[in-house]
Structure formats: C-alpha cells, structure tokens
Symmetry: C2
Subunit: 405 residues, 2 copies
C-alpha cells in the first residue's frame, strides 16, 4: 500500500508510465506501449494527461523505423516541485525540491511548542506561502506538501498519534487541516519512513534494493523499504523497532512489555541514565539546564562521549549495544544487506553507533557467511526529515506501485 | 523474488493470466484483456499455451453483447498435480495435491537418517515413482515437486545448509539431484516458508493479507507472506526469528549472539532444561531413552505439561513466554494482524503456546488499540511440511508475481 496525497488522486498506471519515462530518459509512445504491455490507446491517453499536467514534455523526434518519425517524450524536471515540512516541537523546517528530488531551497521557523494544533497549522501555511513567494514558485506548480512527524500514524485519518506531544494533536487531522489552509495536496508520514524514502530518492539506493533506515530522534523508529516502497503493515505502523524486547526480564516499558529498545537505548533513556550519575550530570553542566529538550541534553552527552569522557562514552556505548542488537534482529528477520542510521540522534555520536552496529553485525549476523551487511550513516542534519517528507510527495506521485492490484 | 521451479520456466504474465482465470471462475478472452490491461493478441497467445498445457479448458459460451458469443475459459483442476516432499531425518512424507491445493493422496517412508544425500535422493525418486504409479498419475501431469527441509536456503544452488544435518548435505544440490533422478521440475524451500505458503493455499488467508507463520520443529523459523508472496530478503533467508536476541546478557548462542530464541525456547532448549531436572527427567522415563530424537523427547515433556506435571508445564510455559516475546517483536516490526503457529513442535502443547502468545499480544502489542492481532494454530501434523511443499509448486506456477519487474 502506498500512502496517497490527500487532495490528489494518482492512478497506479499513470505513475508506472511516468516512471518508465523518467527511467528511459527519452522514449516514444510506441516504446512505452512495448515496455509496459499496455495498448497504444491507453498510453496516448495517459501521456496526454501528463503533458497537460506539465510533468512530461515532447522533446523532438526519434529516428524513423520506416514510417513517420515517432515523437520523443521526457520528464519536465523544471516545472513541478515538492514541498517538505518537518513538524517538530523545537523547530519546523521547510524544504523545496524539484521532481528529481534535489533540494532547491530550505528554511527553518520556530517549532510547534505547546501551541494549539490549528494555530501551528495556520502559521505553517503562512510560512509556506511566504517561502514560495520569496522564491517565485507558483502554488499550482507544487505537486504537494509532505509532512513529517514523530508518532504512530493513523493513515486513514491523517492523524499522528504521539505519546510525546500534547493530547490535542492526538485527534487532530493534520492532512486535512493543512490541505484546507494551503489549498495544496498534503501527505503525512512518520519521520522514520520519511528518512527511508529520502534515502531512496537520494539516488544512493537502487530501486530494486530492500533496506532499512534506523531513525533516531528522541525515540527510535525504523523505515523499511521493500520492493521499492515503504512497508506499512496492517495499519501503516510497521517498523516499530522501539518496542523490540531485548531483555525479557528487564524494566517495564510504557507499552506494557519489558526491556524494550525504547527504555534501554533511546536518547531519552541515555539522558535518564546520565541523570543518575550526578558527577557526570554536573560535569556536563546539565544541572543548570534541567527541563531542556531531551535531544539537546543527549547531544551534550554524545559530544562528551566523542571527546573521551569515559562515563559519557560508557553510557553511549551501552545504548549503541542495544541499538546494534535490535538492528541485528531486524537484519536476521528481513535478511537485510543494507542499513542506514539517520536522524538527529546520530548527529553527534554517529561514529560510535556506526562502529558498534558494524561490529555486532560482522560478528553475529546470521547470514554473515552468505553475504555482508553494509551499514552507512544516512542524513542526520536538522533538515533531513523535511527533505524526506518532500521525497514522500515525489514517491507518492511519481513512482509505480501495484500496476495490478 | 519468487523461487522458480528448477527445470521449468514460468513467465510472470502467464501466471498473472492463470490467476485471473482461477479467481474469475469463468471468464472470456475479452474480459481477460480488460482486467489485465494486456492486448487481446497477448491474451490469445497466452491462453493458447495454457490450453495446450492442459491448465485451462474452454467451457461453453458467454451471453452475446452484440456480436459472436465469446468463449468462456476456466481452470482445468483435474488435469495437473503438485507433489510435496518433506525431507526429514526421521520420516519422509509425500503428498499429492490437485491444482486447487487439495490433498489427494499422501504416503510416509523412513527418514533420511544418516544415509548419503545421493542415496536418499535416489530412494525418494523411487518412492515418488511408486507413489505416482499406485495412484495412476502420469508423470507429465505433475507440475513439479516441492521439497521442504530445515535449514538455511542457498536458493541459487538449490542447497539447504543446516547445522543439524550431517556435513554432506551442506554442499549437496538437492534441486538438481532430484530433478535429475525424477525428470520432473523441483523446487526447494525451507520448512517455515512451506508452512506459510501451505496456510496461504489452504484458503484460510485472503491473498491480499500479510501474515507470519511461526514454524517450530526442532528449531524455530518463520515464514512471512507479504503482498501475496513469501518475503525472502537479500539471500532467501528472511524470517530467521530464531536468532532474535531476547536477553542481551543471556547465554551465548552458536550464532555468536546472546539470549537468542534458539537457545532459550526451542524444543531442543526445553529438552536441555528438562535434563537438568533429574526428577522430571526420570519421571518421564527419558533417562532410558537417552539419545532419541529431540522432537520425541520434547513431545513427551509437552504431553506431561498438558497433563498437569508442574515442572514440565513450567518449562513449556517459559519456552512459550520467549516465543511470545519474539512474536511480539515480529508483530511490532511488521505491524501484523494475523499469525499462525505451525509445525510438529506445536502438535502436543499447542494450546499452552497459543494461550501465552495471545495473552502477550493482547496486553502488549504496540498497535493493540488500533487493531487486534489474530493468532491461530496452523497445521501441526506430520504431513504439514509436505503439503506446504506442494503449495510451493502451485504458488510458483500459478500465482502472479511482479507483472512488471
């Protein structure tokens, strides 16, 4: 199942043809018919709509093979855009991409904080308007807005249910509200899936390759790309690696289970553990900053670990050991050979996590004698989620899924 | 990726059309063209080949919609068969199914034991010949032979690498050898995937539904059906749930990791634990039977647990707790809503495992407030793996996969 842009309809066949045009560079209608197995009449109809929509242009003629020289078609990369928004507590990022997935412009504004959802959405809509005006982009040229957020996705309602945001967001239909406020199609996606699709659209991964992106911000999630699309499961909430139990008799997690990655290894867990080490807590100046954002405190501990503070390094290494064991489980279950570590949680101490994960997989991955497992850093910068969200729009609109239901 | 019959070629489009005919009951060529989006010329060509192969028959005429009354096509369920073989240490089962997946005949012969692989394969080939002759089945009407075995699958070589069999099987190309010995197409599959596809072909699961089958024999594996096909991963070894670590500081597993499901909960683990309880071990008469097959000893312990022996029940319940926690992790990662427990390991104490797994999922599945997770018993009888193996043949031959690569 592919998530669809709220406010837009996108037929599978249409995106299959669009993808064929994109991957071919230049291609004639007859070749499209041959490659797709669809009739020329169907191809002509779809191509006509794509040209009207400005996604495809005619670009000269192919060599004649006897009769009339066939017209060549190509993707109109300059004409259309995707907008990505990361809806974060501390910071909201906006990113504008062209339909090849390249970032053209980006912008950051203050985060959602404790404002009411509708207030935040109205402000984001105004910021989007200013952002587009500033860069001279016509709204009708924006395919859609991708919104990235943390939490459980209620895909049918366009709601993101998160244990970390205030209750008001729990029932708030973000997709419908932002669609209403901007007049543009909107698609909501959780941050881990955004990161995975961002990786996919970065061109670093072949479309034929399955992979997982471990996304760490305050918590830990996972985006799974299978057969060229995000794997969603029964209710669009697949990838919940945070509640993998790594210690069956360990401390209870809010989910009801015990020893989950969430309680043992997330930035929030590391900050909790650091608080128990008063010497470390004071040494890092965290005492004077009580109540600050968990991610900022974690960044301080991660930076200390990287500069050789032994206590800090020990906490981060223990976290990395849990993350690595969860990644190992994921690797064994999916028989993965490619994994990315992405998100702001890996921004500072990424090398420690990367080293431990690689080491654990090299020593213990069940398939290590059959194939290696590549582990790489993905995007960890503050705009990564927004860029990923723009990729979700492109993916929804431009990539073929399920030519047959 | 779908595993292909060794010795047969099977085009994706052909199986897509065959599946359309099957799911339609009766259907005309024109309707097939409309439903598939393929040209009538393509449809005619494929249908001609299917009729020649005896898979499809013409079955009267549809109502006229103006011109000539179109000919109706339907599946020729009586004409072709799939054979399933479970290649087990203690017992080899043969099963013959029609192309609807119904078991027509079954037969069991002594297991592979410690015989040389080629000797076993030659014997299996002779048994298959006798089995087919006895039931008057022409070999050319058998689509192929599915072989089920325990271990890591080397799909490209048709080899099953298992830590439990003697070294000679490690490099033995089962598919090629049995194909050579029988003259029939052969496809090899691990037992968990066989069980999952058997479930799929039993008609209990809709083709649109993703699910997992936990398969317990001596060890524990898992078959994952995603988008109507077994999910295989990078090297056809996805579903390795046995090496999910459930106790990061637990005992070392042969895989190099710690606290794996394999060392904590498999029948082999339960038997090891029972041996440490001398009173139980003697009470169950296992002392006199030292050296017997692990599955038989486990069945004895499981039976005692079911009849209320407290020590035995405690061991089985602890095993079930680990199985349940692994299933919980799998459920959270895949956002599953349907799980089967299958295989001989669940034959005796299935109700205990089923109860514990259901209880853990009801209390702690991360998505429990969004949707329930159905857990049911799958096939646990001695012929289950062979029946599943026959399903693998049907699935490979009759089900559409990747109409577009």
């Amino acid at each position: 199942m592919t998530r669809r842009l709220k406010g837009a309809s996108s037929a599978d066949t249409r995106s299959a043809i669009l993808d064929l045009i994109r991957s071919s560079g230049q291609v004639s209608r007859i070749e499209l018919s041959e490659k797709s197995g669809l009739t020329e009449a169907t191809i002509s109809k779809i191509v006509r709509a794509l040209i009207v929509d400005g996604l495809v242009v005619e670009a000269g003629f192919a060599e004649s093979t006897g009769g009339k020289r066939p017209v060549l078609l190509e993707l109109n990369t300059a004409s259309r855009y995707a907008l990505g928004v990361s809806l974060d507590y501390a910071r909201i990022s906006l990113v504008l991409c062209n339909i090849s997935g390249n970032v053209l412009h980006s912008h950051a504004v203050p985060g959602a904080g404790r404002s009411k959802p509708q207030t935040v959405i109205d402000r984001v809509a105004r910021e989007i308007g200013k952002f587009l005006d500033k860069h001279g982009i016509d709204r009708s040229d924006v395919i859609g807005i991708g919104v990235s957020g943390a939490g459980r996705l209620d895909a049918s309602g366009g709601v993101l249910r998160s244990s970390r945001q205030t209750g008001e967001w729990e029932e708030f239909a973000i997709e419908a509200a932002l669609c209403e406020a901007t007049g543009m199609p909107v698609i909501l996606e959780n941050d881990a899936n955004c990161a995975a699709l961002g990786e996919f659209w970065s061109g670093r991964v072949s479309t034929a390759h399955d992979f997982a992106t471990i996304y760490m911000a305050t918590g830990i999630g996972c985006g799974l790309v299978i057969n060229g699309d995000v794997y969603r499961g029964a209710s669009s909430n697949a990838g919940e690696i945070g509640h993998l139990s790594l210690d069956i008799d360990g401390p209870e997690c809010f989910c009801g289970s015990h020893g989950c990655l969430e309680v043992m290894a997330t930035p929030a867990a590391v900050v909790r553990n650091a608080r128990d080490d008063r010497a470390l807590w004071e040494r890092l100046g965290l005492q004077e900053r009580e109540g600050e954002d968990v991610r900022t405190s974690f960044a301080t501990i991660a930076a200390a670990a990287m500069s050789g503070d032994e206590s800090a390094e020990s906490l981060v290494r223990r976290s990395a050991q849990y993350v690595a064991t969860a990644v190992l489980g994921l690797t064994n279950i999916f028989d993965l050979d490619r994994i990315y570590l992405a998100g702001p949680g890996f921004a500072t101490a990424g090398p420690i996590y990367l080293g431990v994960v690689r080491d654990v997989l090299e020593r213990t991955a069940f398939m290590r004698k059959v194939h290696s497992v590549a582990v790489e850093m993905g995007e960890t910068g503050p705009g990564a989620a927004a860029r990923g969200a723009a990729s979700v729009v492109l993916h929804s609109h431009l990539t073929p899924h399920h030519l047959r239901g």
